[in-house]
């Protein structure tokens, strides 16, 4: 006896193993009443599927068109925006770092040993070059091929880590921390699917602004006087 369930699966050509399928096929070929049963079954189910289409309300159509138009509008890629934001951040970092440096006359009055001063000058020159160079490389990044882009970013990340260590040794922990904070942002530039870098960039931008504000406050006459008195 062939069940309606088996007949149905036979009709769908889905869900029956080859043996069961062959059994139903043989039974259908031999038994016209079974074939009629299958026909009736399918006809009933087709009736159930006959629910007429309803029209789409005009405002819904308009909503879809508008949503699609908005989505299809050309816009800069996220990666491009992230690169631009990172370049801007580096420019700010460079400015902040330069303003952090003591004035030449102040350095001259310090009684630091000559060797240490030479080390410090080399570190500063190197860091200045690194920041400027990174800024320039990032600006050209979007036109690079994916492999080249990944290689460039890896190089920048390595150099950035090196200068973060150097900043630690130069007793500039704030600068070291900011340099380290660039690493995840730089890593995100190689991964188009990552969505967190916009937030990272915003956070870092905020920290740089705070650092800049502190430096300005320290450079003001009152704080200078206070600092001298101390």
């Amino acid at each position: 006896m062939i069940s309606d369930d088996d007949l149905l699966l036979y009709y769908y050509r889905d869900g029956l193993d080859p043996t069961a399928r062959a059994r139903v096929a043989t039974a259908l070929a031999k038994d016209p009443q079974l074939a009629q049963r299958l026909h009736r079954l399918v006809a009933q189910l087709d009736t159930a599927a006959e629910m007429p289409d309803v029209p789409v309300p005009a405002q819904i159509q308009q909503r879809w068109q508008a949503a699609l138009a908005t989505r299809a509008r050309p816009r800069p890629s996220f990666r491009w925006q992230a690169i631009a934001a990172t370049v801007a951040l580096l420019a700010v970092l460079l400015t902040v770092w330069i303003s952090m440096k003591p004035a030449p006359e102040q350095v001259a009055h310090d009684a630091a040993p000559a060797a240490a001063m030479a080390d410090s000058a080399a570190y500063e020159r190197g860091l200045r070059w690194h920041l400027a160079n990174t800024e320039q490389r990032l600006a050209n990044l979007d036109s690079a091929q994916p492999d080249e882009r990944a290689r460039l970013i890896a190089t920048i990340i390595d150099q950035n880590r090196m200068y973060a260590l150097a900043a630690d040794r130069a007793n500039e922990p704030q600068l070291a921390r900011v340099l380290r904070a660039f690493t995840p942002i730089l890593e995100s530039l190689t991964d188009e699917r990552r969505e967190t870098s916009a937030a990272d960039v915003a956070q870092l931008s905020f920290e740089l602004r705070v650092m800049q504000a502190r430096l300005k406050a320290e450079a003001s006459p009152s704080s200078t006087a206070q600092s001298t008195a101390l």
Binding site: D14, Q44, L45, M51, P52, V54, W64, L68, A72
Partner: protein
């Protein structure tokens, strides 16, 4: 309408498919959700998803079919997320056939019985029936989309068919 990969990436051809086929997508989603708002949301979600993933469209099926499938999956997903609000009546939205009074009466009666029959199905039974009998999905595909296994899907289909046959037998003269 077979839209090639090259023309597909253009927004205007995308809009053209939308104008031409959206009624079909909307109604397919409506059969899954039984909720006009959810169906509209599902189509919009599918359109935007399809646009974002247009580079993945290989052109080995029609664009319409591709979006249709994304829309059905979006409808199932929306039902899963917002199910408590998803059981609104559809009767007010069903169109009347513009035929003779008798045909209108018969059509209206059939629609009414169809609605009643569909309402007696559980969500899983209805979705399985629609995806299998109307949309022609494989049982494994339905199971994956409904996050269940093929056997559960098969049983849901059998239950749906039994219920529908009881409710609709008069429309096919079965005594």
């Amino acid at each position: 309408m077979l839209t090639s990969l090259k023309s597909w990436v253009r927004p205007d051809s995308f809009h053209a498919v939308l104008s031409e086929r959206s009624v079909r997508w909307y109604n397919a989603c409506l059969r899954i959700t039984r909720d006009p708002d959810l169906a509209a949301d599902a189509v919009q979600e599918a359109l935007l998803k399809a646009w974002d993933r247009r580079s993945e469209f290989r052109g080995d099926s029609e664009l319409d079919t591709w979006i249709h499938r994304i829309a059905l999956n979006a409808a199932i997903d929306l039902m899963r997320r917002r199910r408590p609000q998803a059981m609104e009546e559809l009767s007010a939205e069903l169109p009347m056939a513009a035929n003779s009074p008798h045909t209108e009466y018969v059509q209206e009666a059939l629609n009414r019985d169809l609605i009643t029959a569909m309402q007696r199905l559980t969500t899983m039974e209805r979705q399985t029936f629609v995806l299998k009998h109307i949309e022609g999905w494989r049982l494994e595909e339905i199971a994956e989309s409904l996050q269940t296994n093929a056997n559960n899907t098969k049983q849901a289909l059998f239950r749906a068919v039994r219920k529908l046959r009881v409710d609709l037998h008069v429309w096919r003269g079965e005594s």
